[in-house]
């Protein structure tokens, strides 16, 4: 136990400063991305950077896309979207569940589901 206490005491003031700075940066970063997180009524489903589907968020629909690992099933319902089934090993995309803003990424199958407005690329709006 005294070893644990010694180890804790060895943490320097610079360690703490680094810790606080990193925590502040990532927390303010999370508010920042929440602000810019796209909302809209369009769901874009891309595989390997290529747009496969553009769906309306208000229309109930289930589609399947084929990626390098197999078939990913994407479900749109009640203004939200989720990856219902995926061939990837860790199923991060499925576990993210229903999403109404931002994006769902499945890296192994190269599937990116983004919620956004109709505007193509670029900055949609800048407010001062």
């Amino acid at each position: 136990m005294s070893l644990a206490r010694e180890t804790f005491k060895e943490i320097t003031i610079y360690d703490w400063v680094l810790l606080v700075v990193l925590v502040l940066v990532s927390i303010s970063g999370s508010f920042l991305v929440r602000g810019i997180a796209s909302t809209g009524d369009t769901v874009r489903i891309e595989v390997g950077g290529k747009l496969i589907y553009r769906l309306s968020l208000s229309e109930e629909r289930t589609v399947e896309v084929r990626g390098p690992a197999g078939i990913t099933r994407v479900e749109v319902k009640g203004g939200r979207v989720r990856v219902a089934d995926s061939p990837c090993p860790n199923k991060l995309c499925v576990r993210q569940g229903w999403t109404e803003r931002g994006a769902i990424i499945c890296l192994p199958n190269r599937v990116v589901v983004t919620i956004g407005g109709d505007a193509e690329g670029g900055v949609d709006a800048v407010s001062g």
Binding site: L3, A4, E6, T7, F8, E10, I11, T12, Y14, D15, L18, L19, L22, V23, V25, S26, I27, G29, S30, L32, V33, I36, A37, S38, E46, G49, P89, N90, L92, R95, Q96, G102, A103, I104, I105, L107, P108, R110, V112, T114, G116
Partner: protein, 178 residues
């Protein structure tokens, strides 16, 4: 390379792979949360035996784990390799230049940041090619990385203390490095 070095590398790499395997069996409470327990070994090796040994251990671990899990040359392998090498190099740089400022905890935090930022950059450049979804997950991943980096750093600090207390040989090695 001395045969003693080779032996150390083999044993420490085995520990790193063992911890990595253990970690895979623990169900993560949150998606995106990886504990990075193998980093405890990387950091300890770095502090005791220097950058070359730590880097070799990282390369062996990434290669063997990918072969054991069948993900060799897949996206997960590329991200593991990039993250592992970048974090080991940056921790080596930090411990060489800033060891008077930071304890293993600070070095581990630096390594965790290097690991995550490299992986996010690689995921963007190689696989996703869209900035928005990457930016969206970055703060959460960094925040989780701070917690695991802190815990791993303390575990490594504890391990270093225990080793230095128990083994005159390790004590001598640690004294030579600093």
């Amino acid at each position: 390379m001395q045969s003693r070095d080779r032996l150390r590398i083999a044993i420490l790499a085995a520990y790193a792979i063992g911890l990595h395997g253990l970690e895979r069996m623990i169900p993560a409470p949150l998606p995106w949360l990886r504990f990075g327990l193998a980093n405890i070994i990387t950091l300890t090796a770095l502090m005791l035996y220097g950058l070359r040994v730590a880097l070799t251990i990282t390369l062996i671990r990434v290669l063997l784990v990918s072969l054991l899990t069948g993900s060799f040359l897949g996206p997960g392998f590329v991200l593991s390799l990039g993250g592992g090498v970048a974090s080991t190099l940056l921790m080596g740089l930090a411990s060489a230049l800033l060891s008077s400022l930071f304890s293993p905890v600070g070095i581990s935090l630096i390594g965790s940041m290097a690991h995550n930022l490299t992986q996010l950059t690689l995921a963007y450049l190689l696989f996703i090619r869209r900035m928005e979804p990457i930016l969206f997950v970055t703060p959460l991943i960094l925040l989780l990385g701070i917690i695991t980096g802190m815990v791993n750093g303390m575990a490594s600090g504890l391990l270093l203390k225990k080793l230095k207390g128990d083994s005159p040989e390790v004590k001598a090695a640690a004294g030579r490095e600093s």
